[in-house]
Amino acid sequence: MTARPEFRFPHRHLLGIEGLGPDEITGLIDLSESYVEQNRRPDKKGSVLRGRTQINLFFETSTRTSTSFELAGKRLGADVLNMAVASSAIKKGETLIDTAMTLNAMHPDVLVVRHPDSGAVKLLSEKVNCSVINAGDGTHEHPTQALLDALTIRRNKGRIGGLLVVICGDVAHSRVARSNIHLLNAMGARVRVVAPPTLLPAEIERLGVEAFTDMKKGLEGADIIMMLRLQTERMRGSFVPSIREYFHFFGLDYAKLALAKPDALIMHPGPMNRGVEIDSEVADDIDRSLIRQQVEMGVAVRMACLDMLSSRVAEPGRNQP
């Protein structure tokens, strides 16, 4: 294992990428690198978080992210508890703050929280004494996804700054897009978003991106193409007329991929809708697709985030109610 970088994260929580500086992002990515190596060894278990308690609090169902966080915590030696709140307390009328206060009384060291409402994780973080990691809040942010995307890009391209990254698909409902826009901008990449106008949020350009409604134009010169899932479950009303039409204009296939740089790489936060936003063959193309690598990097990045935030736990009085 490489030496653990001597970087200290100056925040108590990881609620989003917005507001983080390039040094902080780089620090987290560097630390993640060391965990990539640990995860590839036969003995993956470490002890950085021995004695610490990590609670994964998911108000919205998720298999990939919660598994990734669970594995990350366990590999660092933490006691990990998974709570799927969507199906329990809330239905009994408990509010988010009640839940937070209840859990706080159990003295966890880190809470990993996913919630269907934007801002909910921040609200919760204000009511607890431990560190909180945002594992996705509504359509706001999903910071660990952006960090794992950044790690994946850097490992494959050697850098992030100067690249042209094109984020395609349901930008309006995507917390992944927002976190990536903040991160890529902070790291000096050029960012484009491509979507039908119904799936582009208002004034998105003011977040520092170029917006395209023509995917063919948007893909020109791309180094990285990040495809987003069409989030039908978040949609009220009709945003696109049909899946068939959507795929025709906004689905990534080899014909459209040819418009990007010849060495352009493809990413997707998953789960994929094959044949909706991405052609199956493109998704599985081992020369172009980084999708599986993203999953691997996910565990490493989450280990780095847990490590970083938990390393501050020992501050006196920190976990007192």
Binding site: A120, A202, E203
Partner: protein, 460 residues
């Protein structure tokens, strides 16, 4: 010193138990209805304004007259607040008519009109009568009520507008809900007109809005909160204006918040339509940036808008397009606000901040004092057909003594309202109500009020 002599700079020695006549001396009388603005005196007898003007007090006041030295402060008609939610019946833990009444008079409000969105909904005669009765029993601010425009606020069937009018309803509205169906709106305007009544609309095209949202734009996009476009307001108002043209009805757009809507109303007034509108202090005192980091106390309906819209609201007030300023008092308890932004209730309390925030417009030289007070007194009263909001001999002595320059910091902890949901907590302001009289009774006197008034308030 004679027993009732005026004491310079202070109150008078009084015997409240035997006083039947209350006189104000050394006050700046402002009656926006007649554009009166001059130093003078005012006499209250038997709950009515007996007289006002210059040099009307006898040299030697009779023993049954209490003379209060107003210290040169403004004496004006008590405020008329045309949009208030009081939560009684049904949600008295958030506010009831008594706590709301106390909050109102503390804010200088003598009359307020309650929305019908209580539980049960005020959509029949008995509930209108209930409000009237409770208001009389409580004896603080005069509480009037809008009847629901449609049964159960469902937007489908008209209520018994005629009978409710006879029972005292002062207009009809579906409260926080838009009367969205054009046919229902057409009929509401036509039918209410028969009784000379106003239809008050919360103008928002519902299919473009969402209860979970905030103003559409960069901040909403950044926060990942559903956006409500400014156009949702003007679309509904433009439609309604066509229906006003069709029916000749009396229409009032509540809490307008966008430049486009204000311009539409400006044009409609030029065309001679019977339309009016109000706004509320958050729409000229804040913009969407107040939402900041999901601050639910800045969640309103309509949402706080862009700075450009905020300036248009100020302009609309200055040029008279916006007739009135209402508190839009919407009390919510902690449990309704301490939630993720999308789930939190929309609305803020406003009774005790209405006057100081409106006076910001005066201190910032957007409005003259008389002009600002008109929007809080005679304009809403006139539009609602209430014999309030003006100084008149023989009129009910509903008065407010205002120190327009007194520096103050808004402190919701000291508010009379049961709910504390205000984004203005801690905001420094200038100007406040020193005392409020309703029907000649001193129902509120702040610590800076003349001693006599404080004694009278305490002896209520």
């Amino acid at each position: 010193m004679p027993r009732h002599a005026v004491q310079p700079g202070g109150g008078a020695r009084t015997q409240p138990a035997v006083s039947r006549i209350l006189a104000f001396a050394n006050v700046r009388l402002i009656d926006p209805a007649t554009k009166l603005d001059s130093m003078g005196e005012l006499v209250v007898a038997d709950g009515l304004i007996a007289d006002f003007g210059q040099n009307i007090l006898p040299q030697q006041p009779p023993s049954h007259m209490t003379v209060v030295d107003g210290g040169g402060q403004v004496l004006a008609p008590a405020l008329v607040d045309m949009r208030v939610q009081l939560r009684e019946p049904g949600e008295e833990h958030k506010e009831n008519m008594e706590s709301g009444g106390a909050a109102a008079v503390a804010g200088g409000i003598g009359t307020m009109v309650q929305l019908p969105n209580t539980s049960p909904i005020i959509d029949d005669v008995s509930l209108v009568q209930f409000i009237e009765r409770r208001s009389r029993t409580i004896g603080l601010a005069d509480i009037r009520v809008y009847g629901a425009a449609t049964k159960s606020l469902s937007g489908n069937e008209l209520t018994e507008m005629g009978l409710m009018s006879e029972a005292g309803a002062v207009g009809f509205t579906d409260g926080e809900r838009t009367i969205a169906n054009a046919l229902v709106m057409r009929r509401a305007l036509s039918y209410a007109k028969t009784f000379g009544q106003l239809i008050v609309q919360h103008a928002e095209e519902p299919s473009l809005g969402t209860e979970a949202g905030m103003n559409e734009g960069e901040i909403a996009t950044r926060l990942g909160v559903p956006g409500i476009p400014a156009a949702a307001e003007v679309i509904m108002i433009e439609r309604d204006l066509r229906l006003v043209e069709l029916t000749g009805g009396r229409y009032h757009a509540a809490h307008v918040s966008t430049a486009a809507a204000i311009e539409a109303i400006r044009q409609a007034k030029r065309r001679g339509l019977d339309v009016s509108c109000d706004t509320a202090p958050p729409y000229f005192a804040l913009n969407e940036t107040a939402v900041g980091d999901y601050r639910t106390f800045a969640k309103l309906s309509p949402p706080l808008r862009s700075e450009w819209d905020r300036r248009a609201v100020v302009e609309g007030l200055a040029d008279g397009t916006i007739d009135a300023i209402a508190s839009d008092h919407a009390p919510h308890d902690q449990d309704s606000k301490r939630l993720p932004f999308a789930q939190a209730a929309a609305g803020i309390i406003g009774l005790e901040t209405l006057l100081p925030l409106t006076l910001e417009l005066v201190h910032n030289k957007h409005l003259g004092l008389g002009q600002a007070l008109a929007k809080l007194t005679c304009n809403p009263a006139l539009r609602l057909g209430l014999a309030k909001g003006r100084l008149g001999r023989g009129a009910s002595a509903d008065l407010v003594l205002i120190d327009p320059d007194r520096p103050h910091r808004i402190d919701v902890a000291g508010f009379k309202s049961k709910s504390k949901n205000s984004p203005f907590d801690g905001r420094p302001t200038e100007g406040m109500a020193l005392a409020t009289l309703v029907g000649g009774r001193v129902v509120h006197a702040a610590s800076g009020a003349p001693t006599a008034l404080r004694e009278l308030a305490a002896s209520r």
